[in-house]
């Protein structure tokens, strides 16, 4: 394991066994999370990005099977393979919340509607940090202040439904941070929020990440969101990573046709009036039967014979930038072709 990484995912495969068939949600995904840095996972709904992140905390339902490695460097330096732990065992529960915390995409439903904010945030503190009720409550108020909730002393005893959407997401963040985790997984933290709130919440997360030196995995379907927040981006499509690289490089030189499509679908302020925002034709095919060739083949503008038959091998362009596409197979000067 690379000493600068806190988390390394190798060949992660997640399948769901359903009576209708086996759903191949994640098909051999590998990525690194460097200590104190943030990475992004970007893809459309259903591409497996959320599943792969749930796998890190073993939060998948019982009918999911998991293989590959999830190597995690613990506080004491020991490396543990999360993929090998019992799904509801003591070890993984100890990691959850303390080491790896999560922020969920729907603040409306991710908080219990019948318990107060105080109750929900302080629960883990009382249970695992050995705090008294009073201490936990003070800490909760502190956390709420930290995430920018006004009048925290009063609002701490309110119920989630008394909070606005943005405030709820802030409360979720406070809950995730309660035990000073080392890794923070933010699963589409802003999808459910108004556009105006999105920026606030994102900058809060970034601010906190910097302040506490968190390692972060930001999961989103919007490439624009990650632009300023993460150092590395992994583009996922149909359970696979199709392109990975430093954020700036990806934005400047997207290689994979899918990445290109994603980038073009971001509305630009600089664009001409009347210019249509382009979209990728077609939709994500069924995850029941995985094509043996390139997963994007069906929707790709540049599809070739070989795309259907063979899975493309990784092509590394530059030190960190890798793409999985037959367009670049064996070609050094791939970028010219892609930009054509």
């Amino acid at each position: 394991m690379n000493p600068k990484n806190i988390l390394e995912v190798r060949d992660l495969v997640v399948k769901f066994k359903l009576s209708e068939g086996i759903v191949h949600a994640v098909n051999g995904v590998s990525y690194d999370v460097p200590e104190g840095k943030s990475i992004g996972i970007v893809g459309e709904s259903g591409c497996g990005k959320t599943v792969s992140s749930y796998a890190l905390n073993r939060l998948l339902p019982p009918y999911a099977t998991l293989s590959g490695q999830i190597l995690f460097r613990q506080q004491d330096g020991n490396i543990i393979d999360i993929a090998k732990l019992k799904p509801e065992g003591r070890e993984i529960r100890a990691i959850r919340g303390r080491d790896i915390a999560m922020i969920f995409q729907e603040p409306m439903t991710s908080l219990s509607p019948v318990h107060t904010i105080c109750n929900q945030i302080s629960e883990a503190l009382i249970l695992f940090q050995g705090m008294t009720k009073k201490q936990a409550r003070n800490r909760t108020i502190e956390l709420l202040k930290l995430v920018g909730i006004p009048q925290a002393e009063r609002r701490v005893d309110e119920y989630p439904f008394q909070f606005s959407g943005g405030m709820r997401q802030r409360a979720m963040i406070a809950m995730a941070l309660a035990r000073n985790p080392r890794v923070l997984i933010a699963d589409e933290p802003t999808t459910a929020l108004d556009v105006t709130l999105q920026a606030q919440v994102l900058s809060l997360i970034q601010d906190l990440q910097n302040r506490f030196n968190l390692s972060m995995i930001l999961i989103t379907h919007a490439l624009g969101v990650v632009a300023h927040m993460v150092e590395t981006v992994n583009i996922m499509y149909l359970g696979r990573i199709v392109e990975t690289g430093p954020t700036m490089e990806i934005f400047e030189e997207p290689l994979h046709p899918y990445t290109q499509g994603l980038l073009q679908s971001i509305p630009k302020l600089t664009g001409r009036l009347g210019e249509r925002v382009s979209s990728i034709p077609g939709s994500v095919p069924s995850a029941y039967d995985i094509p043996k060739g390139c997963p994007f083949e069906a929707r790709c503008k540049h599809r070739m014979e070989i795309c259907r038959e063979e899975m493309p091998k990784p092509v590394t362009v530059g030190s960190e930038h890798t793409v999985y596409c037959h367009l670049y197979t064996g070609r050094e000067a791939a970028r010219d072709a892609a930009n054509a």
């Binding site: 769901f16 359903l18 009576s19 209708e20 759903v23 949600a25 459309e44 709904s45 259903g46 959320t50 599943v51 749930y54 939060l59 339902p61 379907h221 679908s265 979209s279 990728i280 034709p281 077609g282 939709s283 994500v284 069924s286 995850a287």
Partner: protein
């Protein structure tokens, strides 16, 4: 998270769906239901059991060796007879029974039936009935006296005989016809009442809604049994058993619709402001048409599931009514009536096989509950 396992179309980036995909998408409401349902093995088995029972009821006169009123004169309280393939004389492919020897023990006033193991009476298939009592009209059309099985000599009583010497097996078969259709008929009527009143209540709201809701409240806060008693007293006493039967179903549905009515009301309330309904309304579609073509189909699967679950309570209610002496009455043959006649210490202690109709009630109710459970799970294909 449940949503992840079946990828839905990515509406945010892909707007254009090909026509075939579209078909799959729309067909899938029922197809997904079927898939989900199939997964529920117990429900599938239950479905089979129910189908089998209804098949049995439809062909009851054929399956039953004797008519429901046919008496094996004098042979009262014969215990169930065992069908054998084997006795001391060896194996026989054709099943047989041993004839019964009857003696009356005048010490105890009890008839004692002993098997004469030295003789065999073979079971024959597709035999002619013993008497005119066994004649029937299949589907009310085809007159026949052919029965699935029977014996040439004497009688065969798979479930024994009752206090008058009637074959319990045959009566259970015939009784099923009435008992199992009362559930269906009652539920159907409840459905109509529930749809109309619940629909109106939810769709129009306001005063109408208030009145209907109060009505439901009054009906529901009233203990059921007196309601049954009063309503069944309202059935004129001299009418034919068929009409009494009809009356009973009306009574059961009169009380049974309230739960459904509430459910439909809340569904309609939730749906009536959905885009597609508003759109239809803006397009000038008439209100009854909106209700019929848009509203009802959109929650039909839920309604069917909850209906399935209410059929059992209908049949249980029928047995309770019969027990109280206010439901169907002898000489009508239904499971409830048969159980009512078996409701005494004498039966339990001396002739427990007369409780067999109760076993059928249990199986029927059990099967419907499992089926309903499966259907309800299936009605919500995106559910867990």
């Amino acid at each position: 998270m449940a949503r992840k396992k079946i990828p839905a179309p990515a509406a945010d980036t892909a707007e254009a769906l090909s026509t075939t995909e579209e078909k799959i998408f729309y067909a899938s409401q029922w197809r997904l239901m079927w898939w989900k349902f199939r997964k529920h093995k117990v429900a599938v088995i239950a479905g089979f059991v129910i189908a089998l029972m209804y098949l049995g009821a439809i062909f009851a006169p054929f399956i039953a060796p004797y008519g429901p009123t046919h008496r094996d004169r004098g042979n009262i309280y014969v215990p169930p007879q065992k069908i054998r393939f084997w006795d001391e004389n060896g194996f026989s492919l054709r099943p047989f029974i041993h004839p019964l020897k009857v003696t009356t023990d005048w010490e105890t006033f009890q008839k004692v039936y002993t098997e004469d193991t030295s003789r065999r009476i073979y079971i024959r298939f597709f035999v002619r009935g013993k008497s005119n009592d066994d004649q029937y009209k299949l589907f009310g059309l085809f007159k026949s006296n052919i029965h699935l099985f029977g014996v040439d000599e004497g009688y065969i009583h798979l479930f024994g005989t009752d206090d008058l010497g009637r074959d319990v097996f045959s009566r259970v078969m015939y009784g099923g016809q009435i008992s199992m259709s009362i559930g269906l008929a009652g539920v159907f009527l409840s459905l109509i009442l529930g749809l109309i009143l619940g629909g109106i209540s939810g769709y129009y709201g306001g005063v109408v809604d208030n009145i209907i809701q109060r009505l439901i409240e009054v009906i529901r806060s009233f203990p059921q049994i007196p309601l049954w008693m009063a309503l069944s007293a309202a059935i004129p006493p001299d009418i034919s058993p068929k009409l009494v039967y009809f009356g009973i179903t009306i009574i059961l549905s009169f009380i049974g619709w309230t739960a459904l009515g509430r459910q439909i009301r809340s569904k309609v309330l939730a749906l009536k402001n959905e885009d597609f309904i508003v759109a239809a309304r803006l397009a000038g579609t008439s209100e009854p048409k909106i209700i019929l073509t848009h509203l009802i189909p959109s929650f039909m699967s839920h309604v069917i599931a909850s209906l399935t679950l209410s059929i059992p309570s209908m049949i249980l209610a029928e047995t309770s009514l019969s027990f109280l002496g206010i439901g169907l009455r002898a000489p009508v043959v239904s499971w409830g009536v048969m159980l009512q006649q078996a409701q005494n210490v004498h039966t339990i202690s001396m002739a427990p096989w007369l409780l067999i109709p109760g076993v059928f009630v249990i199986i029927y109710v059990l099967a419907f509950n499992f089926l309903g459970d499966g259907l309800r799970d299936a009605a919500d294909p995106y559910g867990n």
